[in-house]
């Protein structure tokens, strides 16, 4: 896209020129038309010497494509001009979700031929997928008579990943699934967890011989290991708009618990319950973790009143049997409470992490304070009723998640 057009200023001066000509004509002093010569010269110089093609090469440089939310990132733009451009306005398409916190994403430049200029500004990263699509260039000749706009398509993506904190595992990792454990094991099933010492049996590998015990007992003793059995963890994040105040906290909790699963060597799945649910099947490993973090990065409060239906459908078709469910929801909607009951009725072990949406409110008046108190009491009553179905961690978001878990599981 590129267009070269006269500005309102050029048209005003052209009007002055023609009125000058008409004055000379109507006063019958035709020879004095030469008085408009300065205006003509100015137009001539502007058209002849300051009409660029906007031949520029622009690169955008981001330090990394995944940045933790809340961090500051410097966006660098490198502009190389293949012609002389006396006055160039450049606007970078900073995505709406990002906040410019230092400098500006608009620049006014003067470039010589083959000159390279580096520009930069700083942005604060919020959680989400942020797309830079284009760079807008606008050239105005020095006198402001002509303008040329050009949009250069330059795509970059920045993913603001949720903050991850160290949490306490709020459930037992022991389960029925045989895995190689968190440490690399040469043979799956043989296990890595120490069980007992027994007398050496022919056929036992030599590496299992416990030499200390052999010396003490006077006969060859060997270690016995048992296979590690782990639980599958399914994390459900309620992305209903009623909990939009604590959405970021829900996402952070989910990401932190996934990292905890990764450390424990348990496999985990993720259900992000938006109006179109996003499901990451149960799997393990770093690659799976990053895939789930990417899904969580995109989470946004949605008008979803189908969470109970979504959960029931996935329980029937996708959830592994005997999985440990971690349900992250403020439990403020009827649907989200119904979803919890459904999970319970299917016989799953459930832990609910419920970020308190009212702890995010700072009441400004006494009436507001009273309203928040009433809503909080109402929510607490719901939580008490639902505690029959699951272990509920009522999380005051002003505290770290770790201490909220510790309070409930009495560590």
């Amino acid at each position: 896209m590129g267009e070269f057009y006269p500005t309102g200023k050029a048209l005003q001066l052209l009007l002055a020129l023609w009125i000058g000509v008409l004055i000379a004509f109507f006063t019958l002093r035709w020879d004095m038309i030469y008085l408009v010569l300065p205006i003509l010269w100015l137009f001539f110089v502007a058209v002849a010497f300051f009409k660029p093609r906007l031949d520029v090469e622009i690169k955008r440089l981001l330090p990394h494509d995944r940045i933790l939310e809340g961090e500051t990132v410097e966006v660098k733009l490198t502009v190389k001009s293949n012609e002389r451009i006396p006055s160039l306005k450049l606007v970078d398409d900073t995505p709406e979700g990002l906040e410019v916190i230092e400098g500006k994403n608009e620049f006014l430049l003067s470039l010589k031929k083959d000159e390279v200029k580096e520009l930069s500004y700083k942005i604060g990263v919020r959680r989400g997928v942020h797309e830079f699509n284009w760079i807008y260039l606008s050239y105005q000749d020095p006198f402001g008579f002509f303008k040329r706009d050009k949009v250069i398509e330059l795509y970059d993506e920045l993913i603001g990943v949720p903050l991850i904190e160290d949490v306490i595992t709020p459930y037992s990792t022991k389960g029925t699934k045989i895995t190689a454990g968190p440490l690399p094991s040469p043979r799956i099933g043989e296990g890595v967890e120490f069980h007992a010492i027994r007398e050496y049996q022919p056929g036992d590998p030599f590496k299992t011989i416990n030499w200390k015990a052999t010396a003490k007992m006077g006969k060859i003793m060997s270690n016995e290991y048992e296979s590690e059995r782990k639980v599958d963890v399914v994390i459900i994040v309620d992305a209903g708009y009623l909990g939009s105040r604590v959405m970021d906290h829900s996402v952070r909790a989910a990401a932190s618990l996934m990292l905890d699963c990764l450390k424990n060597g348990t496999s985990f799945g993720l259900l992000l319950s938006e109006s179109v649910p996003l499901w990451a099947r149960v799997d393990y490993g770093k690659r799976h973790f990053f895939r789930c973090v990417d899904i969580l990065s995109t989470a946004k409060p949605d008008k979803n009143n189908l969470i109970a239906y979504q959960v029931e459908h996935l329980i029937r078709t996708r959830f592994p049997a005997n999985a440990q469910i971690i349900y992250i929801s403020p439990l403020v909607s009827e649907e989200s409470r119904k979803a919890l009951e459904i999970i319970y009725h299917y016989g799953y072990k459930i832990i609910v992490i419920s970020p308190d949406p009212y702890s995010a409110i700072n009441p400004r008046t006494k009436e507001e304070e009273l309203a928040v108190k009433i809503l909080d009491i109402k929510r607490k009553a719901y939580l008490r009723r639902l505690s029959a179905y699951a272990l509920i961690i009522d999380w005051d978001i002003r505290k770290p998640l770790r201490s909220a878990i510790a309070e409930v599981i009495k560590l």
């Binding site: 001066l13 009125i19 004055i23 006063t27 030469y34 300065p38 100015l42 110089v45």
Partner: protein, 137 residues
């Protein structure tokens, strides 16, 4: 309202117009150019009108128009915080009208009639530029 170099051509213009008392009233409109470009063009039109009405032409007339033009354009450049070289380009471009006038005047000695030549050339040039501006893109 930012003012930087624009008063310079205005002061020069004032000194020149002190010798032509009948033109002085036009300066009443001059401060308006600091406010907006549109008012500046009104001032320029008034200057041309006064010059034609009082038959003050020649190189001096061209110089007065050039200074008025430099003044209103400088006021615009001040507002835009333009670099100094833009003021220089503006001044040179506007003052080129004086040698052009001298050239036309010289040519008119060999041409049928000065007025006819000037009118024809200027109208042609103006029409050409106008059509170029409108149709370019």
């Amino acid at each position: 309202m930012k003012i930087k170099f624009s008063p310079i051509p205005l002061v020069i213009l004032l000194f020149i117009l002190l010798g032509y008392k009948e033109l002085l009233p036009v300066l009443v409109l001059a401060p308006l150019a600091f406010v907006s470009y549109f008012f500046g063009t009104l001032f320029l039109m008034a200057v041309i009108g006064f010059l034609v009405y009082y038959k003050i032409g020649g190189a001096l007339g061209v110089l007065i128009v050039a200074l008025a033009l430099i003044f209103i354009e400088s006021a615009y450049l001040d507002r835009e915080k333009a670099p100094r070289e833009h003021y220089l380009i503006l001044t040179v471009a506007s003052l080129l009208a004086i040698p052009t006038y001298a050239l036309i005047r010289g040519l008119s000695l060999f041409m049928p009639k000065f007025e006819v030549t000037a009118v024809a050339v200027l109208i042609l040039l103006a029409l050409y530029l106008f059509s170029r501006i409108v149709t370019s893109g």
